[in-house]
């Protein structure tokens, strides 16, 4: 007994301590009251207490279960089934718990506690789902009580699509609250009636058996009738509803009549029997009339399909589902309207490196055995797109000290330009002073203890931020006892120990979200130029109960930034007001702001919200529910599907001179043998976040376009590409991307080769294939997208800026700072050191070139106090700038090489 008490105390105390840690941590690092957030400002507790009370028997000292047990013992059954009654009865039997008040109270408490625990742990009850949020929202202005009668009448008086949309907040909040309470009550009553029914069967109380039987049926039918407003309604539904209500009345009257009277046994006609016959006749007439109406409508279904199903059901379902999925504002355009931008610019932005290739290439840059790449994410910052992979810890040693005291953080982030595939320093990508240390990241699941005397973190660094929680006193003792670290519990190196807790950024964000909010599992990095943050994208994914919705309520809601170094968090709301859940959640997380200016261009529309092969999202709903024509719907001729080979890819596209960062999803017609392109979705990121456009291949489109699957076939079967592919070992085809260039559509598919040398994996882009999407017949390869494009079109690149102008720009970098440029006849040095090799063949590359030139000037020309800079040409397209420095008799030439045409 003592041991059990100790275990209970221990479990309670450690749970309480964890709650305390969460409370303090989120207060300090996110400025929010965690307990208030996750317990719905105590609504969860109140709801759990009240729902638990519903299970308590309202009559003191009465218990249906105990009465059944006693009735069973008194019946003849124990003689037939002795194994069901293994305990001998020692006391006289009673039909109630009279005289055993304590036992009754204990039993009621047990039932209450079980229900309370279920509601607290599940946030609701099985089948009925989650409901504390409903009660909280109900008292905070969501929905309207005056609309409840209208909701109740929906099966009899169907609403238009727009009216259903306007009623959904009330259906999900006020009516749902009523539904949950009444269904729970009816469930409890039907269980009690069922127990009574068995008891009365054992006691051979015929009338009471029938009463209980009809009581159970009444409860169950009531549940069905209460759920009727959630039905999707076609032309037959009002008749169905009348049948259901009639049966409910029949079952209820039968239960009442058998309760008060039952079979009298009188031979003479009685008023009751006459009334019963009359009622039965009326009921049969009602049931038959409605059933025959349904049968008649069903027989004529196909010849009246538009009026019977399309208008009352399908068209409304499309309208409501589009609203629910948040795709009602998707712009529908013909693929011929797909914007084409500046050719040179778009060719310099084609995403030639896909995630897997970038990830493989980055792996080699880690350099130590205790770090690995956590994930490779696409980001868009300062006008360029990068693959960036933060590292996480891979423990060479899993002992407690290593995990919790030494390997406290990762130190590297690796970035690759998504077009060029070249490594770029993280400091340059984010324009921060130094690469941040990663104390909070992906996969960092173990808590760590920092600033502990006698222990050194890896890399000889020491955490300088604020701890998530400081363990001291009895809390430290309890915490380390749970960890099995008796030394730290009883004789620690210091009284207070700083702990970093819940460091996995995804989990850290999930733990502050309430029901209906979800996080895109793909977190990515952003920066304000001072700090680097993980951005977790939070979206609304709330199940709606109306049969008219084919989708959950889906909306992008917020972005939560987690500082990679100190774990501080801040949310920014991006969702637009909807007078429903977005407004509710905005009110709930009222301490979150609008996103700052610096963040907007870096924001991405969540991939999980758009949809992937594994997670159904908004686009998956649109694949079907974009159809508005009844016969197109019925024939299924315009439904889309996501091709196996593609998902949402974040790419850069151009519209004139404007560069846009967007999510691109190609779609094919569902089950199409020709694998034609049906359309492409473009989801804007950055300032136009949330704007989605569908460019569809319509009947009026002049030519049919091949889809991504057909593009792969075109690549595989091309006479030139096929032999090249067979020559490559360990080849892999990259992402299939579609670009609109010069008002034509081209697929670009990079081909990578991967080689493994002594466990080091190297990946390289062998070539890139361009495929004309109009026919699939024209296929060309090139070292890069531009070369492949010019080869396929047979055109000559048009330079938008003359090479001479670019050369002038380069030279200005030196002359504007007062340096003289000298072109020597010849230049000699003992040692020649190339500092950088830069390509500046179009305007887009200027920012990179300018940065490299500035770095060269600061780190060499200024450092060695030079006034003259030499330049010379090695061929007609490359210029080099250098300085001569004498170092202890050795003349060194430091130079930078620039390819400018």
């Amino acid at each position: 007994m003592f041991l059990i008490g100790l275990i209970v105390f221990y479990a309670t105390a450690s749970s309480w301590l964890k709650f305390l840690i969460f409370e303090v941590m989120y207060q300090e690092k996110a400025g929010l009251n965690w307990i208030e957030i996750v317990f719905y400002h105590n609504y969860l507790l109140i709801v759990a207490v009240l729902f638990g009370l519903l299970t308590v028997n309202p009559f003191p000292r009465h218990s249906d279960l105990f009465s059944l047990r006693i009735a069973y013992k008194r019946s003849e059954l124990p003689h037939f089934f002795p194994f069901l009654n293994p305990f001998k009865v020692r006391r006289p039997q009673t039909l109630s718990l009279k005289g055993t008040l304590k036992l009754w109270i204990l039993w009621q408490f047990v039932k209450w506690f079980i229900t309370f625990t279920i509601v607290i742990s599940l946030g609701g009850l099985p089948i009925l789902g989650h409901f504390p949020l409903i009660f909280y929202a109900m008292t905070h202005g969501v929905g309207d009580w005056f609309l409840v009668p209208r909701v109740f009448m929906l099966p009899l008086v169907p609403a238009s699509g727009q009216e259903i949309i306007s009623l959904i907040p009330t259906m999900e909040i006020q009516y749902r609250a009523l539904y949950v309470i009444l269904v729970t009550l009816l469930g409890i009553v039907s269980v009690r009636m069922f127990l009574k029914l068995i008891r009365h069967v054992l006691q051979r109380e015929r009338n009471l058996v029938v009463r209980d039987f009809f009581g159970v049926l009444t409860c169950l039918t009531s549940v069905i009738v209460l759920g009727a407003p959630y039905w999707s309604t076609d032309i037959t539904t009002p008749y169905d509803y009348i049948i259901d209500v009639t049966l409910l009345v029949v079952f209820l009257l039968s239960a009442i009549s058998f309760h008060f009277r039952g079979f009298s046994g009188s031979v003479l006609p009685t008023k009751f029997r006459t009334l019963s016959i009359f009622c039965a006749t009326v009921i049969v007439i009602i049931l038959l009339a409605n059933a025959s109406s349904i049968a008649s409508l069903r027989l004529n279904w196909n010849n009246n399909w538009v009026n019977y199903e399309w208008i009352p059901l399908t068209s409304k379902k499309i309208e409501v589902t589009r609203w629910a999925a948040g795709i009602q504002d998707v712009d529908r355009l013909s693929i011929s309207n797909l914007p084409s931008g500046n050719i040179t610019k778009i060719l310099s932005l084609v995403r030639q490196w896909d995630q897997e290739a970038a990830y493989t290439k980055m792996k080699n840059q880690i350099g130590v055995n205790w770090m690995t790449l956590s994930d490779s994410d696409i980001i868009y910052i300062h006008g360029r797109e990068y693959w960036i992979a933060p590292t996480t810890i891979i423990y060479p040693s899993r002992d407690w000290i290593s995990v919790h005291m030494i390997y406290t953080h990762a130190t590297k982030m690796i970035a690759i330009d998504s077009h060029e595939g070249e490594f770029v320093s993280v400091a340059k990508v984010f324009q921060v002073n130094q690469e941040p240390m990663i104390y909070y990241g992906e996969g960092l699941r173990d808590e760590v203890y920092v600033n502990v005397k006698g222990f050194q973190e890896i890399g000889n660094t020491s955490y300088s931020g604020k701890a998530d929680y400081v363990l001291s006193g009895w809390q430290r003792v309890l915490w380390f006892l749970v960890q099995g670290q008796f030394g730290f519990a009883l004789s620690p190196p210091q009284e207070s120990i700083n702990m970093l807790y819940n460091r996995d950024v995804l989990q850290r964000v999930k733990d502050i979200l309430i029901y209906g909010l979800n996080v895109d599992p793909d977190v990515y990095l952003v920066s304000d130029g001072n700090r680097v943050y993980f951005a977790a994208q939070v979206y609304v994914d709330y199940p709606l109960h109306s049969g008219f919705t084919g989708s959950n309520y889906l909306r992008f809601f917020a972005v939560v930034l987690v500082d990679v170094e100190d774990g501080s968090m801040h949310g920014y709301i991006v969702g637009k007001s909807d007078r429903f859940l977005i407004d509710f959640y905005k009110n709930y997380y009222s301490f979150w702001d609008s996103p700052p200016e610096w963040l907007l261009p870096q924001l991405r529309y969540p991939e999980a919200l758009l949809g992937t092969h594994k997670i159904q999202g908004q686009l998956d709903i649109d694949f079907k529910y974009h159809v508005n024509d009844p016969f197109t719907w019925r024939s299924g001729s315009d439904f889309y599907e996501r091709p196996v080979a593609t998902e949402v890819h974040y790419v850069l596209t151009t519209k004139g001179e404007e560069v846009n960062f967007m999510g691109l999803q190609l779609v094919e017609f569902k089950d199409s043998p020709g694998r034609n392109l049906a359309g492409l979705y473009m989801a804007y990121n950055g300032p136009k976040l949330g704007q989605v456009e569908l460019y569809s291949v319509t009947n009026t489109t002049a030519a049919q376009l091949i889809g991504p699957s057909a593009a792969l076939q075109a690549l595989d079967t091309d006479d030139y590409v096929r032999p090249q592919l067979t020559l490559l070992k360990n080849k892999r085809l990259g992402n299939i991307l579609l670009y609109s260039i010069g008002h034509n559509l081209y697929y670009f598919i990079p081909v990578y080769i991967t080689t493994e040398i002594e466990n080091a994996v190297m990946t390289k882009m062998a070539f890139i294939v361009a495929i004309d999407a109009t026919t699939g017949a024209s296929v060309a390869t090139g070292e890069d997208a531009a070369q492949a494009y010019y080869k396929i079109t047979g055109s000559i690149p048009i330079e938008e800026t003359k090479a001479e102008q670019r050369l002038e720009e380069i030279m200005k970098q030196f002359t504007s700072r007062g340096y003289s440029l000298v072109q020597p006849e010849k230049i000699y040095a003992n040692v020649e050191i190339q500092i950088k090799n830069v390509t500046y063949t179009n305007d887009v590359m200027w920012s990179q070139t300018s940065y490299e030139l500035n770095t060269f000037i600061q780190e060499y020309v200024e450092k060695y106090d030079q006034t003259e800079v030499y330049y010379w040409y090695t061929d007609n397209s490359t210029i080099k700038f250098g300085i001569l420095v004498s170092d202890r008799g050795v003349v060194k030439l430091y130079y930078i090489s620039i390819l400018y045409k």
Partner: protein, 94 residues
Amino acid sequence: MQREEFDLWLKTTFIGVFRVAGHKFEKTATGEVLIDRGTYTREEAELLFLMLHSRNPFTRLNAEIVISERNGTLIKAILVVAIILFVILITRIR
């Protein structure tokens, strides 16, 4: 004619089965009458005989209901019909 036969059957000790409008009348050793396995007094049986032969269809229906009520057929029928209706109702729910 049948009324006289019935009275004769009821008053004598003849223990054979008497059939009225499809129902089986039997006498028990205790002097009661079994109608379709339901027990009745002689008076009730007589009354039922008259009801079964009434010209009023409601009276005849009443007699049928009394017989099926007393022998348990009615209750079984009600329960079976209720279950069937409930199953149909469940299957019709969308």
